[in-house]
Subunit: 324 residues, 4 copies
């Protein structure tokens, strides 16, 4: 009989990103996307969507480069956290315990094979809305903002990585993530992976870094309720001079409806209607996309834009500067 | 340290319902809702939504009464099935193993404290679409029908029960379901419960049977992607002479957007946009609604319709006939 | 051969309403509905929706009572204005010329048989957005606000009147409005009329005043693009403590999707998705609704709420006070 | 004082198109778009959308080439028809009276400066739905089909023409259409025009024929109620193997949300949510788009696809064959 799956990770908790223009990035996340500031500390601002239950889901930190500093996953229980730490310790990926941060307790840090920093934690602070942000319905974390794009929750992230297979095996082995879809090139190399620890079709994706760098970031994604809201967000981007890279359109992979734009610091931000499609099957068989299939473009025929294969955070130019 | 939660049940698998006018009910499910027949056997027709991954999610059987004959949940693994069976055996709720049915393997049957029949199983047949129903995208089970309301998937069910607390404790103890929201009356009695084993906010609900009967059924629910699709379904109900009981409107509890109608056999069918709101927190604290709060009506003020507290399957008249 | 129709009135231009709590009403129109202030003068604030092309479409004036002070229609040409004035002069309905107001030129005032004041004008000021409100697309009057319900344009109004037939004939004869739908009671009395001078299915409605008063107002209506936006507006009303009277639901008459609420001054405000359905036929035959048909309720079965037959501006209580 | 505008044309009535694969085209219009056959005669099938009030809005005729055979406009009155005929007679554009066709009475035929055939008529047959297609609401022409894309009404058409200015002046002078938006090249030549005779922002468009031909057709357009329905139509096209040329996206010009595909005969068909935006101003000042502005692409940045400038009906290859 097949061994039972690991189900210790509950969900993506938050991301820390850096911006080289932090004030402008803050304007984007609060005024254009409609997020709320829940705390400030040092060079960092803690932000949240109206339906996020934790203190924050985005930590925005001033930095020399725009990039993703760490991603954090919450475990299903204290015991689950202990089990994952036990597995990671001595694996060569482990960094060690941190004291935690505003909004959550002790976290164990490690890195993936490509070098992205990851933390896992259990103890967290449930968001308590101040009076002016209290919702009318008690089963909601915070009042609906009615401002900008009104993003509902942090949905997923996408890293670039030089060796997709190594990263996939890492997340399967150490954290129990399940692969739901992937791209496999004609030469057998894996070029993209979509993994989940929930009933969402993915909690993160990794796609191929074609330029020999490590640790770059592709995008973070916020969920909205409907495709109509994403179209409206495109109108709002247009009015605010936000650069739309591609979309709105429907992905063939995972079938999410997407809109990609760059926030002022240059980081790609996706809005998607994640939620309508769920993966309920405990034994989902990964969907494998071939090069020929990918050449057909997105679901309704839109071709993948060239910058999608090059633009990341940091940029290629910045990576070269840092090396030099 | 708190013991870890049971996570053995993966999701609601299917329902068997009976109809006293089976041909008319079949017309409703296929032509009005847009479901597909995947098999027929004896007095039963097996039906599915286009995004359901299993062979079927609804078994429609001719019967003297319209009612719910059994609900079935799929476990997360064979081992999980064994654990649940071990817990149930000798509990007084157990009925025993069945050989399975069209589309799934051996199932263990039992009943809840109110007498509704439940089955759990692991082995299942993944749906294989015939050529004319093959989808354009390989990550989809079946072609989008473009017919009637185009229901996406079976979402949840709602039973009536005389003792909500007893049923809640049964599902928590024996199956590991988590309570997400509940109604507690001023006298302390529980009057409604919403429970989940997924990231959906609930996979079933039980509400109070106010008429002293046992085993009645309130409604089954199909998920659609957006509120707009539910409004369109209301238009389609209107054109087809389907009785709309209440809605479309937004529930205060769980915040789903709902539309309730009666299929020709008299069973209440709900369409809802389940999916946008997810419960990701592994330690979600149940929301408790009071009588005073319920008197405010639904989210935007619609009062709960009287028939919602009386109409079920079988009807009150039928229950009395059966007793007489 | 039938005489040709009068086509001198181009569209509803604006409404002047009074509020007994003008600051709160202003908060509602700007923060909850998302309107923009284009001018202030004396006790009046001039407001506009982002897609209105004229200087303003709503004049909000402080008053002892909440009510509708005048409605104004723009004519198709200066000659059309002259023709209508010639017809009205000496009719007994005429009041006379005014110098105009902020945003428009000379207007000719008169009253309908029920006593509501009406003005017609041609000269108008096209809205010029200040730099911070300039839209990204040059075919749009003003930047999309991304605030509150984001109402698109003033759509129509609804007066109460004691004698519907007299008012219908007045608007047909003197202004060339066409009747598109009406309610006729079993005793032959007209109880509601929906009239248009555009391709919209109606630019105003009059419904029966059942309480013997004259000059009362029922509601004004703003248009949104989609039913989804109206549902979102209901969420926003909920969060802001705005009283929702009835809806969202679909009218049987005219098939608009509606949401009725009371602004802080007590005036009923409707949000509707006017626009999808147009009347293109130049010889449209009015749809006549009977009492029996009206008893069926709205399109999907919602019963008309009692307050819909009593609540108006001013209220019944205020009318009695004013008489006393 | 400026002379008053001509308002004799009420709306676009119908189009006759030819298909070289008429059975497949019929499948597309009925099964994929959800239109209804209202009559058949000879090589022609008469089709309608559920909200069209006339007998038909599309006449589909078998032909050697796919193309547009004639467009027809209904006048506002019999007198209006007489006035337009009087203006056209002897103009050099006139062809003469026809006896009419299935569904409408005598029509006067003429051609525009590019050679497209146009007819105007007043007498028409209002559609009478057979029992199985009768709607639930009496203010609707036909039951909502709940099949395929459920197109609501014929919205507009787009011809190619070698001399846009000549055609604009023709429609202004002889028929009273108003220009709402246009493209003017840097050298002063007009390259596109959008004209209306209703409150819709346009009833037809003409864009520049860059290949020296005459009489070619670019696309016809059906209206849907919401952007969400157009996205759903894209899903339906995908499932049915219909070639999507470009979209869904939002036009900068006129701001309609569009989806372009080719029906089996090769004719471009657009689905759009025309209706939300209306032009109410009787003195609308045409919006002029420059080459620089057009280079920015569509509203959210999508670049205009190359085939949009070449593909028409008949095709360039067919035009050359016919000449040879």
């Amino acid at each position: 009989m097949v061994p039972e799956p690991i189900t210790d990770i509950a969900h993506l908790g938050h991301l820390e990103i850096t911006s080289k223009v932090p004030e402008k990035s803050l304007w984007f996340f609060t005024e254009v996307l409609g997020m709320t500031v829940s705390a400030q500390s040092g060079d960092s601002v803690y932000l949240r969507c109206w339906d996020d239950y934790e203190h924050h889901t985005l930590k925005l930190t001033a930095g020399k480069r725009t990039g993703m500093r760490h991603m954090a996953f919450r475990t299903r229980s204290p015991q689950a956290l202990e089990r994952r730490v036990a597995a990671l310790k001595g694996s060569g990926f482990d960094i060690g315990w941190t004291d935690g941060d505003v909004g959550h307790g002790p976290a164990f840090a490690f890195h993936d094979p490509d070098g992205h920093r990851i933390e896992i934690y259990y103890e967290t602070e449930w968001y308590q809305a101040p009076p002016e942000l209290r919702p009318a319905l008690k089963n909601q974390a915070q009042r609906f903002p009615a401002r900008g794009a009104n993003v509902r929750r942090l949905d997923h992230l996408n890293c670039l990585a030089a060796d997709i297979k190594a990263n996939r095996e890492f997340f399967e082995t150490y954290l129990g993530f399940r692969l739901t879809e992937q791209i496999v090139l004609d030469d057998g190399r894996e070029a993209g992976m979509w993994m989940t620890c929930t009933n969402k079709t993915y909690d993160f994706a990794y796609t191929l870094e074609a330029h020999g760098h490590k640790g770059r970031f592709h995008h973070l994604t916020f969920a909205l309720d409907s495709r109509e809201e994403i179209l409206r967000a495109a109108d709002i981007y247009l009015e605010n001079g936000v650069h739309i890279e591609t979309g709105p359109h429907k992905h063939a992979i995972q079938q999410t409806f997407f809109l990609y734009a760059y926030e002022p610091g240059g980081m790609r931000v996706e809005l998607a209607n994640a939620g309508a499609r769920l993966i309920l099957a405990p034994d989902w068989k990964p969907i494998v996309w071939t090069e020929a299939e990918r050449r057909k473009g997105q679901a309704w025929g839109l071709k993948t834009i060239e910058s999608f294969h090059t633009h990341g955070s940091p940029t290629l130019e910045e990576m070269l500067e840092d090396i030099a």
